[in-house]
């Protein structure tokens, strides 16, 4: 069966290491914070200028001057730091963030990612996404493997305007975990009960399938 949003978050959380600075995009990536393994600590970076984002405030704690990159009211943990947007993106662009998790519309075998714009529909802008994909070495893309109409989002070449070129190496979909290398997708893990055939069928870009594809366990 395809992974639930929560399972996707759980799977990504396994990539965390103690002491990681992590930037989590809006949507499913945000859920990763709920699955940080016991005894491990990570610090969340919010690109508007907060390192050490805490949980949402209580009604009493709410403060208009304390928000995250999604413009939600948040708190800061003990030992947080707060700084300008220039400093925040210095951290991001300079490669100081250990793990970036974000959503996408499409990725392709060259590591290109499209995640911010669907021409003809509303144009909202890339926000910090272009900096995040350009700056991080370790990026996890989270998305569904195919659209609601069954069209693959793992392509030979992205069709939508790119957020970044050649910067994605790791993709987790609801069906599989794949890595991108040498211009191909490499199937590394499959969702519990999902067949290799289904993954092959729903992957438009060239896919390398090893003899054995381990099933994820939760």
């Amino acid at each position: 069966m395809a992974l639930s949003r929560e399972q996707m978050a759980m799977r990504v959380a396994r990539e965390l290491q103690d002491g990681y600075y992590v930037n989590l995009g809006i949507g499913i990536p945000t859920l990763v914070a709920n699955y940080i393994p016991d005894g491990m600590e990570v610090m969340l970076q919010s690109e508007n200028g907060l390192l050490g984002m805490g949980q949402f405030p209580t009604e009493d704690e709410i403060d208009a001057d304390m928000i995250n990159a999604g413009k939600q009211t948040v708190t800061a943990i003990t030992g947080a730091s707060i700084f300008s947007s220039a400093e925040s993106f210095a951290m991001i662009r300079g490669g100081h963030v250990d793990l970036t998790v974000l959503g996408a519309f499409e990725v392709d075998v060259e590591g290109n990612i499209a995640s911010y714009m669907i021409p003809g529909k509303l144009v909202k802008g890339m926000g910090g996404a272009m900096d995040l994909v350009a700056g991080a070495d370790n990026i996890f893309v989270l998305m569904t493997h195919a659209s609601k109409h069954g069209e693959s989002k793992l392509l030979t070449k992205c069709t939508l305007p790119l957020t970044g070129a050649g910067c994605i190496k790791k993709v987790l979909t609801d069906l599989a975990y794949l890595e991108i290398e040498d211009g191909k997708f490499h199937l590394k893990e499959r969702a519990p009960g999902v067949s290799v055939e289904e993954i092959i069928e729903k992957t438009a870009g060239e896919l390398v399938v090893p003899a054995e594809v381990p099933e994820m366990t939760f």
């Binding site: 949402f56 001057d65 009211t73 991001i92 910090g128 272009m130």
Partner: protein, 233 residues
Amino acid sequence: MPGFDKVVNSYEEAMQGLEDDMTIIAGGFGLCGIPEGCIAQIKKMGTKGLTIVSNNCGVDGFGLGILLEDKQVKKMISSYVGENALFMQQLLDGELEVELTPQGTLAEKMRAAGAGIPAFYTATGYGTLVGEGKDVREFDGRKYILEESIKGDFAIVKGWKADRYGNVIYRHTAQNFNPMAATAGKITVVEVEEIVEPGELDPTQIHTPGIYVDRLIQGTFEKRIEQRTVRDA
């Protein structure tokens, strides 16, 4: 030191000299840390044809969004403009231009303008629409695009406290783009919640030194919250 006293007593005075077709750099992220009073004054003045450099364009009826109501804005240079129906309407109607700029690049363009750096290379946007028509150069095997700095005729900035000399500190994440904006205006106007006497702020803890600030005004702020998210106590 009267020569360094940056305090003005009205928003009229604060925004004096603003003319049609000027460029304004504005601090703020979403509705957080936005110069509410300066924006209201610009609306009141009715200045048209403005180019506004700001991460966002407020929301319908608040923040920079109110400058759309009388079509005062010709062009927005922003990273994200998704929260504003009037904005989308004017964009689709061709009444408004938008130049989408990655958030980190936007912050750096403001900083560069203030710092005498006319242009810098960044990997952000290489191979995307943002990089089209821009110089590409390789460093250590990776490709980067050349981005130019962006200066304003005015910069409008929201601080928390400032002393009369224009030394400013910001509160929490209301800092965001404000310190860079403050450096990038030919005329920089800072509005704050509280003006204090010189010496009350620790010299090593100033976010924006007074050298960048031309006019300082104490205002009152609604501080509207865009996404009110709470947990149970």
